[in-house]
């Protein structure tokens, strides 16, 4: 069993210190507090709707829910600027929402409609928005890290001040591309922020069963780049750590690795009986739900009024209803277009 407060295992070597929890009491701006809560509630409710629509057969393929991990996207992504690049995984609905992709376009993508953000070609795992520099949506674990290195290399060569933020999970740390990418980005001093969402399981394989060194921030530090870990269930701590990391990377000192320690409340995908973890472990982590703990603390410390949560829930429900309606009203790409966009310069088959 992997409990929230017993991170140590016999093979865990001590790495960089984890940043301390902050919580809602660390904020003094009610608008900021409301925005953070709104984004987390929005992601949570959007995904609950996705699960419902999956059961109804409206969404097909694989569907990986982010529920439990919302503090990361909600806290980290607002720290990025329009000129920065974001690369994410197949569990990326929350990142897409936080980056500003219209919920209707995300939902339409999951419906497979041509109004979807990838014209229905990608589905849940491949949300793209070039205009917002949201570069997917990748379903090859570790496969986006080399791309992130390349994005940052292009920015550096062109003299642009952009940072490339690359999200991936603890499972990616076992891939060769993780090691190659941290090495190369450090050698070339590239502005990449490697953001590891450590939810303790690579699909169903627990961290200590897939990592010889299960302190991932310590492992990353071996590549001689700055490396830190932060409580991924604390949206304020996530935001602060990410802002500090971005400031470091923008300073031209090279890449940085930031580990968010988090937990996935739901199954890996819609086809996961969760035989690899016990219910007690999940229940313990749910006590630390990023949405509920932040909402409760923000009210308790006087940052948010008691009615704010209900207001947010109403706003979010309206937005999601509109997104579903947009997807329902969407149209199917004509099959005649099937082979368009395989090449930018069309060629004979």
């Amino acid at each position: 069993m992997t409990a929230p407060d017993t991170r140590e295992s016999p093979n865990t070597k001590q790495g960089p210190d984890i940043r301390p929890a902050i919580g809602a009491a660390g904020l003094d701006d009610p608008d900021r507090a409301r925005a953070l809560l709104w984004q987390m509630v929005r992601i949570r409710r959007f995904e609950e709707k996705c699960a419902e629509l999956y059961s109804a057969g409206k969404i097909r393929g694989f569907l990986h829910l982010y529920i439990g991990e919302e503090a990361i996207a909600a806290g980290a992504i607002p720290a990025l600027r329009d000129i920065d690049n974001v690369l994410a995984t197949y569990r990326e609905h929350g990142h897409a929402l936080a980056r500003g992709l219209p919920p209707g376009e995300i939902m339409a993508e999951m419906y497979g409609k041509q109004e979807g953000c990838s014209r229905g070609h990608g589905g849940s795992m491949h949300l793209f928005d070039a205009g917002r520099r949201f570069v997917g949506g990748s379903a090859i674990v570790g496969g986006s890290l080399p791309l992130a290195v390349g994005f940052a290399l292009a920015d550096k060569l062109a003299g642009r001040d952009s940072v490339t933020a690359c999200f991936f999970g603890d499972g990616a740390v076992a891939e060769g591309e993780f090691h190659e990418s941290l090495n190369l980005a450090t050698l070339w001093q590239l502005p990449v922020l490697f953001l590891c969402e450590n939810n303790l399981y690579a699909m169903g394989t627990a961290l200590e069963r897939h990592q010889s060194q299960s302190d991932l921030a310590a492992k990353a530090a071996a590549y001689q780049l700055r490396s830190e870990a932060v409580d991924g269930m604390d949206v304020v701590a996530v935001a602060r750590a990410t802002e500090a990391a971005l400031e470091y990377v923008r300073g031209g000192q090279g890449p940085m690795f930031l580990e968010y320690r988090t937990y996935r409340f739901r199954a890996h995908s819609m086809f996961d009986p969760e035989r690899y973890r016990d219910k007690e472990e999940v229940a313990q982590w749910k006590q630390r739900c990023p949405v509920e703990t932040f909402a409760r603390d923000a009210v308790a410390c006087g940052l948010l009024g008691a009615s704010v949560r209900d207001e947010i829930e109403r706003e979010v429900a309206e937005e999601i209803d509109a997104a579903v309606a947009f997807a329902e009203e969407g149209t199917w790409e004509p099959v005649e277009n099937l082979c368009h966009d395989v090449y930018a310069r069309e060629v004979r088959p």
């Binding site: 090859i140 080399p146 390349g150 090495n183 060629v347």
Partner: protein
């Protein structure tokens, strides 16, 4: 216009140099392309001329430097990624297949990937089974990629320039046995279009269809056949994906007999694809069954006599034509 006689490697170098001069978004990266001067001395002198920012030595991380080329292409650059040899490209296959080839369609047309990936291919140098294969036919299976195999010196420098002007990922396969071969080029390096096959020898009795390193063996075979009074046409495919069906069918319609010469293995090969297309599109033009000359279905061995036996030779092509013409 001045005519120069140069080695194929020098033609490649001229192409790279011209590309770097023409477009400041172009840079070259790969293993030992800089200080070493290129494993095969193709990039010799470029580091001194263009500097470390544009001639980038990489660690032995094929997947990541190839993926970085793809990422840089997505973000506005025109990278040239050099992979030392085709067998090593398998370490980068994830990036080539899952990213370069898919991103445009999977994103609904939002991205294109103007990356150029060069690698040596083919056997004949006694380098055994991890340095000698011809896997370009595998890559030609993949929608989203353009696969080119320059067999002439003009194409060696000019197809690179055309590839850099192309908005899609282009893989260039340079046959290692050509590197020292001398040939002629005219004037300054200029782009050589990517869409058409080229007739390298006009003929009327049989079409010999080939590409890359096999072109020269095929031309030698055609000369032997000419001495016997057999008039063979030699078609150089140049681009393996997309195939120039029109040029293939036009040649078949002219000669009514076809031999495909492909250094890849026979099973599931590019030669199989070409013959399938001929059967689909020009079946009634044929006066005899299409014939193939391919590598033997073994990992390429080290010993010279075994390697020679594994890879198509001039004599194999001549024998195949004799068999077809009776």
């Amino acid at each position: 216009m001045t005519t120069q006689t140069i080695a194929y490697r020098e033609a490649l170098r001229q192409g790279l140099r011209e590309a770097l001069i023409r477009d400041e978004r172009v840079f070259l990266m790969g293993e030992d392309v800089g200080r070493y001067g290129g494993t095969y001395a193709v990039s010799h002198g470029l580091l001194e001329e263009f500097g470390e920012a544009r001639i980038r030595d990489t660690p032995l991380s094929e997947s990541t430097f190839t993926g970085a080329g793809i990422g840089a292409a997505l973000n506005g650059m025109r990278p040239i990624v050099e992979i030392m040899t085709v067998n090593f490209s398998l370490l980068a296959l994830d990036q080539i297949m899952n990213n370069a080839a898919t991103l445009r369609h999977m994103s609904g047309g939002q991205y294109n990937v103007p990356v150029v990936i060069r690698m040596t291919t083919g056997g004949g140098r006694q380098l055994a089974a991890q340095h000698s294969h011809s896997l370009e036919g595998w890559y030609a299976h993949i929608p989203g990629l353009r696969i080119v195999a320059p067999a002439t010196h003009e194409d060696a420098r000019g197809m690179l320039l055309a590839a850099l002007e192309d908005p899609d990922p282009v893989l260039i396969f340079e046959h290692a046995l050509l590197l020292n071969a001398e040939g002629t080029v005219e004037g300054e390096p200029h782009p050589m279009e990517l869409d058409h096959a080229a007739i390298r020898r006009e003929g009327s009795q049989v079409s010999l269809i080939t590409y890359g390193g096999m072109l020269h063996k095929t031309l030698a075979a055609a000369e032997q056949l000419a001495a016997e009074g057999i008039d063979a046409e030699v078609l150089d495919l140049r681009t393996l994906r997309p195939l120039d069906d029109a040029a293939i069918m036009a040649s078949v319609a002219k000669t009514h007999r076809v031999v495909v010469i492909d250094e890849g293995w026979r099973s599931g090969s590019l030669s199989a694809e070409i013959i399938a297309r001929i059967n689909e599109q020009a079946f009634f033009e044929l006066d005899g069954p299409p014939v193939r000359v391919c590598s033997q279905e073994v990992p390429v061995p080290y010993a010279k006599h075994l390697e020679d036996a594994a890879i198509p030779q001039v004599e194999d092509i001549v024998v195949a034509v004799h068999g077809l013409l009776g």
